[in-house]
Symmetry: none
Subunit: 125 residues, 4 copies
DNA sequence: GTGGTCTAGACCACG
DNA sequence: GTGGTCTAGACCACG
């Protein structure tokens, strides 16, 4: 698992974990139906508390990205078509960043290229 | 000032303020070189703590979006070309959202259109 | 036996088994004095651990719904009139659900109709 | 707050708390828009850990029964009309209990009266 | 062996 | 002062 936690960051560890796990799934390194490491083993690997990993897993379950199977583990869900709610979530997250890019003087072309580039980077490797 | 604060939201008030001020600047409602309302008056308007508005202004200064002139007030900076650092900031903010959209099954076309749409809404609306 | 176990559910398998067996008895599919399948065969059928089926059977015996005859098997009891204790059990189970329905804004008419509907579905279908 | 926790029960403390708080709301003792005690004060009152109360509050928020306002407290939501999902939740909870009552030999009339009685007890005090 | 629950205690961000 | 986050450590239910 290529996960790196910055304990000095002011982003909560469980949020860092959520983001990095999403990144690994987006990059295809963690595949649908593939089991994630147990909360205990991942916590030991990363040197963080079991509860912190557990919170990240539950956050990902809430986002419908994985399914926690009690006493067994967690597996990545196979999502094919985004739901209305998921598109709305992405829109709400995107809004303030687009605004910020405009304020910085970026052009539509630039922000669109950037989004496109990042998309390809995940998809292709 | 068309700012609405949701005191019950779990997004900190100062973050809401930062985002809404960025939105107003992106939409051209607050223009470069235009002075912002004083910390005191904006706080009174919104019914929030003075320190909260102050924190938002300093956050915007840190982002180089406005300039705080002690004893005088704050003015919107005139940003024409994004700096390396600002592009890097936007990239870092965009990354986890693009990843999340991929995990939800969104296509490149969809995410690019969404970014483009949001960009236009600010610029034209 | 029309029993379906969801191994990914967060309801324990033995609880699912208890509920489904109660459902089959309520629907008249399993009849009084009729022997249940052996722990071993049911476990094999469902692909679950023998101990899990055993635990479910003992839970049903504790509820006085079936009788386990050691070395022989389990048979459905013929219950005609509910005991005080059974009515008390049902009351205790019902209480928090009625409370939750009230909190959700349901009317007495609605909850009573729902109970009545579910009753008929078991009895007639 | 008339809440009693049984530490010896095998029902998790946070579940007991959830049920009792729902009961207090159903009975109108806790009213819509009324603030609940802080997690710390309620935990101290009941002699349980802060995190346990916190978990109960979050569970009630998930059920849309209250709203947690970070740094401020929690307030009871004002629910007027049950959503589809809430009716479905109640139905799923009711099902196995209705089945169990049938197995015990209860008649439709009895179970309906019981539901009606419990409803009235909450509503009228 | 796994996740679930709970405790005790700590520091922090927000306002 | 509040909830949010995190840790360290414990016992338990399930299977």
């Amino acid at each position: 698992m290529f996960i790196e936690i910055e304990t000095t960051s002011d982003i909560p560890i469980y949020t860092q974990l959520v983001n990095q796990l999403i990144g690994l799934i987006a990059a295809g390194i963690l595949k649908p139906n593939e089991p994630l490491p147990s909360v205990r083993s991942l916590a030991a690997d990363l040197g963080v508390n079991m509860h912190t990993v557990n919170k990240a897993y539950h956050e990902l379950e809430r986002k419908n990205i994985l399914k926690i199977i009690p006493k067994s583990g967690a597996v990545v869900n196979d999502l094919k078509i985004p739901t209305e709610q998921q598109i709305s979530t992405i829109t709400q997250l995107l809004k303030p960043i687009i605004a910020e890019s405009i304020v910085y003087g970026m052009q539509e072309e630039e922000i669109v290229s950037l989004a496109s580039l990042l998309f390809s980077e995940y998809k292709e490797g």
